[in-house]
């Protein structure tokens, strides 16, 4: 697995004077090509801050950032828009509704990055926009709709379409399914997994929902108060957590009766109901 993204010694503080607090306090992250990495932690753990720093939307105080072997941390977030690697790193936001300019139709919003960064125009642009929206599983008659006319699930798909339109090599997703109903969430998780496989796109999932991260990612980094407390393959970390915080996090998850596979797959199979 070739290393695509590497950050070392990331530190970021907010507030000044005695209120100064390190949201990110010395974090190292490595993401391989096409990998699905989970960044797990509770609110206030600094996971979203790291997401913004990786997407170069937020300046960090210390630490270096390498993308494809090239140092990109020195350039400030304000000037990131003009950098050659801008199209290579994209992000999907938690509040899908707030992620779209209320005045523009969905296809116009998806066209914006294509127009600005890949300078495509006319038919090529329209084709690229429609391809991205199709790939994200959005129905054609929704393309010209305004954001407030779409459901939560449709907006999530449109957000993903916009992010993959430029075929970035690294995609950061901040709580992609937190605002969605369970019935719609599963569809988005399948879509993300297919896109990652088909487009060989590395994805970093920032979330507090361990169950979602377990089904989607291969590697997990657990964060608490700005530090990575544990890191490793999802299976091992979730099965036998080493760090007390991870243990407490997993213990707090609502317990589902332990059963082989789904309760309903084998009609009449005897299931061991985990005593309450």
């Amino acid at each position: 697995m070739t290393v695509l993204f590497q950050a070392r010694g990331l530190r970021k503080a907010f507030g000044n004077g005695e209120h100064r607090r390190y949201a990110v306090d010395g974090v190292d992250i490595t993401v391989a090509e096409g990998e699905a990495l989970a960044l797990a932690g509770e609110s206030g753990s600094g996971k979203s801050t790291i997401g913004l720093i990786m997407a170069r939307l937020l300046d960090h105080d210390e630490g270096e950032i390498l993308f494809d072997g090239q140092e990109i941390g020195k350039c400030s977030a304000r000037r990131a828009a003009q950098q050659p690697w801008r199209a290579q790193i994209q992000m999907v936001f938690q509040d899908a509704g707030g992620a779209f300019d209320p005045r523009l139709s969905i296809s116009d919003s998806v066209a914006l990055p294509l127009r600005r960064l890949s300078h495509s125009r006319g038919n090529a642009l329209t084709h690229a926009v429609e391809d991205a929206l199709d790939r994200a599983g959005l129905a054609g008659h929704l393309f010209r709709r305004k954001p407030h006319e779409l459901s939560g699930g449709q907006l999530a798909r449109a957000g993903i379409a916009r992010a993959i339109a430029l075929r970035p090599r690294l995609l950061i997703l901040d709580e992609p399914t937190a605002a969605l109903d369970v019935s719609v969430q599963a569809g988005i998780l399948h879509l993300l997994n297919e896109l990652r496989r088909d487009l060989n796109m590395a994805m970093v999932f920032v979330s507090h929902d361990l169950n979602v991260l377990r089904v989607l990612c291969s590697r997990v980094m657990v964060m608490e108060h700005g530090n990575i407390v544990e890191e490793g393959p999802v299976g091992r970390v979730f099965a036998s957590p080493a760090h007390p915080f991870t243990t407490r996090l997993l213990a707090a998850l609502p317990k589902w009766p332990r059963s082989e596979g789904l309760p309903h797959q084998l009609p009449g199979s005897a299931l061991i109901i985990h005593s309450q």
Binding site: H190, N211, R248, L249, W256
Partner: protein
């Protein structure tokens, strides 16, 4: 669970909202369910299913656009729908209490927490202000706040997030209600805080033989924390059963679909499946009799025309409303 007279009885409750742009949305359609004393019932449904409207209807806190078109609600035998406003005011807090989503913002930001709890006690029978203040400090201690006497003088903004959740629970339990409704009370909270809040509610319920109604979209949370689960879809009760039974032998297609869509400890991406389509617009004129019709893979013409009849299991514990249950 010995069969006692139900604490709360809801029969055929139907409710409609007058929409600002005209038309009426029938948000609840013939909802019937009971809660036995000290029972922990979960009402599980997706956003827009009407579960929170149901909670507000129980407390008659709905705004003037809502109208209860049919049905009956009785608490300890007393008819709530026709109770006077004064009587409802007495019942709220003393018999029925509720905690809303993001409980921290339910505290009056500029009033000391001790006084807020004392206000509830004074509103429900406590005569002397001093006694009310003393009992308020005891309540704070009971919900696990250390140094309660000093903390009672603090303002909400001086407390941590977790402590504010505890104070809200102390407020709700101050007048020792018979039924505590938690309406998405832990949605958006961290998993560890959620566990603390649910433990606290469970512990207080057992200590004061109080029934609880957990309203949530999280089926896993409901399964772990409640004796029985009722599933609601677009304002219709589709199924209710003891928790373990619902998980292992659900009979309604929607409950089944929810189970296969909810990620949990044992699930993998392969066996996770989304539910096609969306919940119907309850203001639409051509609403099918069973509102899961558009998304159901077992639907027939019958489901469109005839409202699904509720059939109960032999001991009456497992009820399902479907023409073609699994």
């Amino acid at each position: 669970m010995p069969v006692l007279a139900p604490l709360l009885t809801v029969r055929r409750l139907s409710l409609a909202f007058a929409l600002p742009q005209g038309g009426r949305a029938s948000v609840l359609d013939g909802l019937s369910l009971d809660i036995a004393p000290q029972e922990a019932l979960a009402l599980v449904g997706e956003s827009g299913s009407g579960k929170s409207v149901f909670a507000l209807a129980l407390l008659r806190l709905l705004d003037r656009h809502a109208e209860i078109t049919d049905g009956e609600i009785r608490i300890e035998g007393e008819d709530l729908l026709h109770a006077s406003d004064k009587r409802m005011q007495d019942l709220r807090g003393k018999t029925l209490a509720i905690i809303f989503q993001n409980p921290a913002s339910s505290l009056n930001p500029i009033r000391r927490i001790g006084r807020q709890i004392a206000d509830v006690l004074l509103a429900h029978g406590e005569r002397s202000a001093d006694a009310a203040r003393r009992r308020a400090v005891q309540m704070l201690a009971r919900v696990g706040i250390q140094d309660a006497a000093r903390r009672a003088n603090a303002y909400p903004f001086e407390l941590s997030g977790g402590m504010k959740q505890r104070v809200m629970i102390a407020l709700a339990l101050a007048a020792s209600p018979r039924l505590l409704i938690a309406d998405e009370a832990t949605t958006g909270l961290d998993v560890t805080t959620q566990a603390m809040v649910m433990d606290l509610i469970h512990e207080q319920a057992r200590a004061n033989n109080m029934a609880t109604l957990l309203i949530t979209h999280d089926l896993a949370l409901a399964a772990e924390r409640c004796d029985r689960i009722a599933v609601i879809h677009a304002g219709q009760l589709v199924e209710s059963a003891p928790a373990a039974r619902l998980l292992t032998a659900a009979r309604h297609p929607y409950t089944r679909a929810l189970l296969t869509a909810t990620p949990h400890a044992g699930s993998t991406l392969a066996n996770l499946r989304a539910i096609p389509g969306q919940a119907p617009d309850t203001a639409a004129a051509d609403l099918p009799a069973c509102r899961y019709y558009a998304r159901c893979d077992r639907r027939t013409e019958l489901c469109k025309s005839l409202p699904p009849m509720q059939t109960a299991s032999s001991n009456g514990a497992h009820v399902v409303a479907c023409h073609h249950p699994l």
